[in-house]
Amino acid sequence: MELEIKNGVVFDPLNKVDGEKKDILIRDGRIVEKLKGKHDVIDASGKLVMPGGVEIHSHFAGGKETAGRMLRPEDGARTVYPKRNGLRSGSGYSMPSSFTAGYLYAQMGYTMCNTPAMPPLFARHTHEELGDVPIVDKSAYPTFDGNWFVMRYLKEGDPDKLAACVAWFLRATKGLVIKIVNPGGTENWGWGKNAVGIDDPVIGFDVTPAQIVKGLAEVNERLKLPHSIHLHPNNLGKPGNIETTVETLELCREVKSANARQTVYLTHAQFHSFGGDSWKNFESKADELAKYINRCDHVVCDTGNVTLDETTTMTSDGPMEYFLHNLTHLKWVNKDVELETAPGITPFIYSRKNPVHSVQWAIGLELALLIDDPFKVLLATDHPNGGPFTRYPRIIAWLMSEPYRRYYMEERVHKGAQKGSSLATLDREYTFSDIAVVTRAGQAKALGLSELKGHLGVGAHGDVAIYDIDPAQVDPSKDFKAVEKGFAKTAYTIKDGEIIVKDGLIRATPQGRTYWANPVVDHELDREMLKDVEQYFKKYYSVNLANYPVQKEYLKRGREIQIDARDVK
């Protein structure tokens, strides 16, 4: 199967292509230099051509995601998607159901989505559900924040077994990335307590959040994982948390990167950039975080934009969700997972009339505008926490247009946003190339998957998004509505060389790949570590070890990334 995309205006930052007219050739699902024979041609003249979008942090599938849907039939009823043209039906405004999520991402030009907080015990669920998310490639990040084995080895000072154990969990859960959510806090939540500072004790385990973060960051590099640790620090969403955030990032500064990339990925940075010490004097500290990230090379973050919608918050940060529930008194789900983590869920209404929410809206944008290098600040709403992913086109338009932001500032949001943030003073406007970075190239690079994803160079997957926006005609600063509309639905989405979306309509629904990491450590070490695991399992888990690892049947199209880490012994 061959395909030629002709005359498009191409933005491919990883290959330094910045708005050039260029043909893209795809054969057998990969970008190639030359085509061999007869092939389909897409005339992309006057259209924007980018690599397929890569979602680095979105809660679109998994155990708590489904619990969130179950909790909110009123969110389901708000938006329904009928069955048509061979597509499955679905529902959900803030939390679209599985098939629908795949379609919606593909319609926006995304070809890879990663679900960022998978409790290992629920890995089987996550993979079953991922099998029902069509089109996009995907992966899941198992959570390690309250993992008893991790804490035990940290306490015992056994970094080798710690590494072997993390490798085992990645293999057992078919996970790609080490995810850490409120380190130590989720374990303390087992007693209704939290860990707000990085040196708070973890009850019963004699370790601290700082040890968990640093220990796992080091393990991550020893295992040479493609991505760095993926971190949701302590103290999310609390006034004044900027201090904790910077202290946490500082822990990873000296960690040596195995793959010439960041050593810590700070997710939904907006929620971690708060100043003040109460909601009364709450203010943005985006400038402080931006300054820090501009100064150093070991951090990449995503924005965690707030889009001012009624949404459903769902994180593995159980104590934080309880805190939110106490603010709003809305229904609350808690889902503590034995020996592992503690997710929670509660609906949340971000109101344009609320000063705090308006400042939060501003912080997400400030971060994107204040951090100089777009490769260090990627676009995400922490779907659905800051807002549903279907709002990305609007965020893109905000980033590209100072007048659009000003309109919101002056007409749409609470005036508090002007006082509580520096957004009104920022006139930077993202270019199309910047947008290509923060929606795909940057994600692929941060994930360590930039050989295959996020670019249009030879050898990359034939994943392409073609948008009906003519850079020669559209001035994003003025025509922000056209930008917002243009990014909402592609003219074409191409996945592995196949036309998936045409004129915004889904035409094919192939099964995407599921990536997972398999770092192989020294065999002896692995065996020794497994003895501990066996013992713990019997005593403390509620399932047998033999029934724990995710069986191969659950990955409809699994892609193992094997890593030789035998030097870990």
Binding site: R72, P73, E74, K331
Partner: protein, 262 residues
């Protein structure tokens, strides 16, 4: 105001979904066009004319359109869904979801209405001359924002869980009321002229309920005082009433239930 008359000519086997029977949809349409509107019998798309004989004339606008239904439409759901103006007069009994999310206009039912009618209503005037089913004027599943405005009067009895999560408006039941009237109520006003089954006002955190007689009050209701001929929500009531605050099962409780002393 102009009038369209729908005369029932055949009953569906599995019930109909007919959100198209609404003043807004009928406005500016001829009776022919109206007869051609789709309604749904299970998974089959049918024409309104398959089940109703359509006559009369629709108005130029929603507010100018009155719909009269002659016959029993107990199995026809979603009539008047989301209506903002105009009138619907049902001369028999009405099916589920009548007037759901209604914002204005007027609905009269000569007979009974089934469960789940007028959910999340925001405005308008409703008169049920027969009995009303469960969940009258309640919130839809999962929503914590129930009825917010408008008035519903039921001449007969009402089912259980009326006005769940109510946030405004008024429901007046002239007969008896099954259990859990006003459960999770937050604001608004319910008057029950007859007897209310137990668990009235359960988990209410605000709003006001007046009942002539109750089967029992929950432990979470605290007697406050006895008032003679009280004026409640600017309405005068005759006789002696006992006032309760509750439901103190919830720490935020600011609800009030008045019960007449016999």
């Amino acid at each position: 105001m102009k009038e369209i008359i729908l005369k029932v000519i055949s009953q569906p086997t599995v019930g109909l979904e007919a959100e198209n029977i609404a003043p807004k949809v009928f406005a500016c349409k001829s009776s022919m066009e109206i007869a051609g509107l789709p309604i749904y019998e299970g998974n089959r798309e049918r024409r309104l004319g398959d089940f109703f004989d359509v006559s009369g004339e629709a108005g130029e606008a929603e507010a100018e359109t009155r719909i009269v239904i002659e016959g029993d439409v107990r199995l026809t759901k979603r009539i008047g869904q989301g209506m903002r103006a105009g009138e619907i007069h049902i001369k028999g009994s009405a099916g589920m979801h009548l007037g759901s999310k209604m914002r204005g206009g007027k609905v009269t039912v000569e007979g009974d209405c089934e469960a789940f009618c007028f959910q999340e209503m925001r405005g308008g005037v409703v008169h049920i001359k027969g009995n009303a089913g469960n969940y009258l004027g309640s919130a839809t599943r999962g929503n914590w924002r129930g009825m917010r405005g408008g008035t519903i009067t039921v001449d007969g009895n009402a089912g259980s869980e009326i006005a769940t999560f109510m946030k405004g408006g008024k429901i007046h039941v002239k007969g008896d009321c099954a259990s859990f009237a006003g459960v999770h109520m937050n604001k608004g006003f319910i008057v029950i002229d007859g007897r209310a089954e137990r668990r009235i006002g359960a988990e209410m955190i605000g709003g006001t309920i007046v009942a002539n007689e109750v089967e029992a009050m929950l432990a979470g209701f605290k007697p406050v005082e006895t008032v003679k001929a009280p004026e409640i929500e600017s309405e005068k009531f005759t006789g002696n009433y006992k006032k309760y605050s509750g439901d103190h099962a919830d720490s935020r409780a600011k609800g009030t239930v008045w019960v007449k002393i016999q």
